[in-house]
């Protein structure tokens, strides 16, 4: 059977690709578009390493089909920085050592950005529950949470 032809927008750029019906958006991003910043940790939606934004909603790319991306707006880690200017979350992850091995970092950054979009001043507990879907085995979460709090603070100051 012919593969499906899909047109979608990733980080503001239009992409076209062919995919099998069962291929996930994660497969497509990594293996067809070579956007390998989005990671696979489980492929069952339990680790959050493949977190991306799909039409403004935080989702696991492993639980979206490639064909479902047709006509949608997708944001991945590769679109987080603007030119050579890192997003405040990226900067704070660097300063606070929020990325240890770094495999969960892209997904966590995307999830954290989604949080700050709806809640610019989250408490520690709110951050912890929002990021519960982003497993990290290295850091014990401490420095991730601190980095998100610091980025939120900086972004609030930037706005005011």
């Amino acid at each position: 059977m012919a593969r499906s032809h899909v047109t979608t927008t990733v980080n503001g750029d239009e992409y076209e690709f062919l995919c099998d019906a069962e291929q996930t958006l994660l497969d497509v991003l990594r293996d067809e578009l070579f956007l390998t910043g989005t990671k696979e940790g489980c492929a069952t939606g339990d680790c959050g390493a493949c977190s991306v934004m799909l039409d403004g909603r935080l989702v696991c790319a492993c639980l979206v089909l490639g064909v479902e991306a047709a006509g949608k707006l997708i944001e991945t880690i590769e679109g987080l920085a603007h030119g050579d200017e890192l997003h405040p979350l990226q900067q704070k992850f660097l300063e606070h050592n929020g990325a240890q091995c770094g495999i969960c970092t892209p997904g966590t950054l995307i999830a954290a950005k989604a949080l700050l979009a709806v809640n610019p001043d989250p408490s520690e507990t709110e951050i912890r529950y929002w990021l519960a879907g982003n497993l990290c085995r290295c850091t014990g979460y401490d420095k991730i949470i601190r980095a998100v709090m610091a980025a939120a603070e900086e972004m609030r100051e930037g706005r005011s």
């Binding site: 909603r57 089909l65 999830a111 519960a132």
Partner: protein
């Protein structure tokens, strides 16, 4: 089946026709948080996947008959963000919020959570406690059924070939009503209920319980609507004695199994504990409105 076909019809009729006309296994794709996991682990090999998210009736939330009609394919996150619904049914929202992570909630749907027919589905006890009605459309037309009659056993529903769960109708709330959902999991998040309890109740002006529905999840082959547990509350001010009877009735109704998520003994005991806690939550909410 070698290759799977994906279809995303824009009308209910087209979706029903696709499902009814399929040879072999055809599956509905709503949020995909269960069906794609099954698909990629080779637990299922459907020849056809019908994506129902492009059908407006399945993805809208509307006020109807003083209550709410919620499309079965509305994502958990959309429902949580719906202020009026969240205010009316905080217990349902508690269940919906526990379906999974924020990422999962961005996709998962209440219809899928119900039709996946896991006895541990987090949104189901409060949904049943709410007395919601499911609207089903199929080759034979449209029918309404109480939600407790939809999931029948693990992985099995009462839906016939070609039938689609379209929406849920939540009844209007009398004054002094409240609902709540409590579950037990070893972790705070990202876990499957070991026991879940949904309770909805209404009080009269004097604070006596007029009506109650108590539903247990993960303690039987499907979520259980426990009338004896509700009876323990009705006619009482939910005092200590009533809560004791509730806990005992909840524990007595359990017929769990030992599995990887919990033991029989533990589930029976904790069902009573959670029933009491959920009742206290619901009571506090009922008193507040």
């Amino acid at each position: 089946m070698d290759e799977m076909r994906y279809e995303a019809p824009e009308t209910l009729d087209a979706a029903v026709a696709l499902l009814a006309g399929a040879d072999g296994d055809a599956r509905i794709l709503a949020g995909g948080t269960d069906v794609l996991v099954l698909l990629h682990s080779d637990m299922i090999e459907p020849g056809l996947l019908v994506d129902i998210k492009k059908i407006p009736e399945l993805t809208s939330i509307a006020v109807e008959a003083g209550g709410f009609r919620v499309g079965a394919a509305v994502s958990a996150m959309e429902l949580v963000e719906h202020d009026a619904f969240s205010k009316a049914w905080p217990g349902v929202i508690e269940g919906v919020k526990l379906i999974g992570s924020i990422q999962i909630m961005g996709r998962a749907t209440m219809g899928g959570n119900l039709c996946n027919a896991s006895p541990a589905a987090d949104s189901v006890p409060a949904l049943i406690a709410a007395g919601a009605i499911g609207t089903i459309v199929g080759p034979e037309g449209r029918r309404d059924v109480p939600v407790e009659d939809i999931a029948t056993a693990p992985g099995e529903t009462s839906l016939g070939k070609g039938e689609i769960l379209v929406s849920f109708l939540f009844p209007p709330r009398p004054p002094h009503s409240g609902d709540a959902y409590r579950r037990f999991t070893p972790r705070t998040e990202m876990d499957i209920a070991v026991v879940g309890v949904g309770i909805s109740l209404s009080l009269d002006d004097g604070g006596t319980c007029q009506a109650a529905r108590v539903v247990l999840g993960a303690v039987a082959e499907r979520a259980l609507l426990v009338e004896a547990a509700a009876a323990a509350l009705i006619g009482t001010p939910l005092d200590e004695a009533a809560l004791e009877r509730l806990a005992a009735a909840a524990s007595a109704a359990c017929r769990p199994i030992d599995d990887k998520r919990g033991t029989k003994e533990f589930r029976i005991k904790v069902a009573g504990v959670l029933a009491r806690r959920a009742a206290q939550d619901a009571l506090e909410r009922a008193r507040g409105n």
